[in-house]
Amino acid sequence: MKKSPPVPLITPDGKRCDGRAFDELRPIELEVGVLKNADGSAMIRQGKNIIVAAVYGPRELHPKHLALPDRAVLRCRYHMAPFSVYGERKSPAPTRREIELSKVIREALEPAIFLELFPRCAIDVYIEVLQADGGTRCASIVAASLALADAGIPLRDLVAAVAVGKVQGHIVLDINHLEDEYGEGDMPVAMMPTRGVITLFQADGVWTPDEIKYALELARKGIMKIYELQKEALRKKYEKVIEEVEVGV
């Protein structure tokens, strides 16, 4: 039922439509602290994805009856800008997809946060997708995790994420928009890299248990690379702050 793709998804020489190898990530740029008002923020560019995450909190929670006596409430809003998508303008009202993704992203981040340190508080994670190019929920988790760190919220670990996919029978890493649209399966995975545990795990498409095994291992390797980039981005921000302090900016 899916129409055929505008370009071949796998070229005769065994490359993907954007020239990558099966186990190759797209170029990723991460920047921490991009917004002034938010307590923490980060931007990710991954392929043509452009996504900004902002964190506010820990802060007082309104209405108060939603507060929890023993831990902070983590709230998350994943949202796509109307101009971020291919084709027609997307309505700014949250779609069912955005509501689901807000939930799974929240649940992917939650295990990494010491929520119990901030009873009765809220920690708000806001994600705006400015341009979408496949794998936005994983890229959002990568950025949100950095924004949480930037906000100084104590974390057990960062959370890193990547989507593997099934494209013309091949299991490939970090699928792009075309592979998502015309491929046979999508499997977004998030992990706490140093602990090696899975905090987001979804799939569509048809997979044998063996394919899942292979895909998860491929995802894990990609996640470890992204984790290095995350640490590098935090280090850069930290050095910049140090520098600013030293030169008295």
Binding site: V104, G196, V197, I198, P209
Partner: protein
């Protein structure tokens, strides 16, 4: 955050659940890999094109299919449409509130939908009447009547049963006009049979088909949709806990194993009403 997740479970009961799991048993007497009793009744709502009532222990959901003729989606002009909607009516639990579906109900709907869609359960191309103009549009509405845990599996069972129970009037196209023959009914082209198996992680234990008490203490949830070939056709991890890679593989094996039992219950229910 659903209010349900804040529901208070007595401390003692929580301790009991953990202690029993340590012994390899569960609060309601089941084994860790044991599903609750399943009762499926197909065809209970005549006004619907198809319907099913599913009971998993005390969990109770009803699904009804309404078919109409409408325009196709612009990007799939040659295919009918299937929409899955789940409502957690206040009816079903003291913690459900009136209003449009919240994130929990939307998640259930989207997981059920994903399982059906990934494996091509309904052959939507056969629901095209005039390409680009007229197609069958199916609405699968799932109502939770009583919530005692594991609404994802119950909803998936109800949806597939209702689809298998669905009959559409025969349509013909004459001179561009669609004619509906209400007296000649044809079964919906259902070609695959995905069922979903949900597991809860409680401490270090993984149990199949959690009841509400177990859901109130579980750390994480994993739902695996499996088709009739034993292939996985949708995955959804839920809640703010995590799984190790080993736990995931163990859960997938468990799901593949249990799935046949669930699928057979559906076939039995369909056989009973003779479709």
């Amino acid at each position: 955050m659903s209010k349900a997740s804040f529901e208070v479970i007595p401390h003692l009961k929580k301790k009991t659940i953990y202690a029993m799991l340590q012994q390899g048993s569960r609060i309601d007497g089941r084994k860790l890999t044991e599903y609750r009793q399943i009762a499926i009744e197909a065809g209970i709502v005549e006004r619907a094109n198809g319907s099913a009532l599913v009971k998993l222990g005390n969990t109770m959901v009803i699904a009804g299919i309404k078919a109409g003729i409408g325009a196709p989606f612009p990007d799939t002009p040659d295919a009918g449409a299937l929409m899955v909607n789940v409502e957690f009516v206040p009816f079903a639990s003291p913690t459900f509130e009136p209003g449009p579906p919240d994130e929990n109900a939307i998640e259930v709907a989207r997981v059920v939908d994903r399982g059906l869609r990934s494996t091509g359960a309904v052959n939507l191309e056969k629901l095209c009447i005039v390409p680009g103009k007229h197609v069958w549009v199916l609405w699968c509405d799932i109502y939770v009547l009583n919530h005692d845990g594991n609404l994802i599996d119950a909803s998936a069972l109800a949806a597939l049963t209702a689809l298998l129970n669905t009959k559409l009037p025969k349509v013909t196209v004459e001179g561009g006009e669609v004619k509906i023959d209400e007296r000649t009914l044809e079964p919906l082209p259902v070609e695959h049979y995905p069922v979903t198996v949900t597991m809860a992680k409680i401490g270090d234990h993984i149990v199949v088909d959690p009841c509400l008490d177990e859901e109130l203490v579980m750390d994480a949830r994993l739902s695996i949709a499996v088709n009739e070939e034993g292939k996985v056709c949708a995955i959804q991890k839920g809640l703010g806990g995590y799984f190790t890679i080993e736990e995931v593989h163990k859960a997938i094996d468990m799901a593949v194993q249990v799935s046949n039992e669930l699928r057979n219950k559906i076939f039995e229910a369909i056989k009973k009403v003779g479709t």
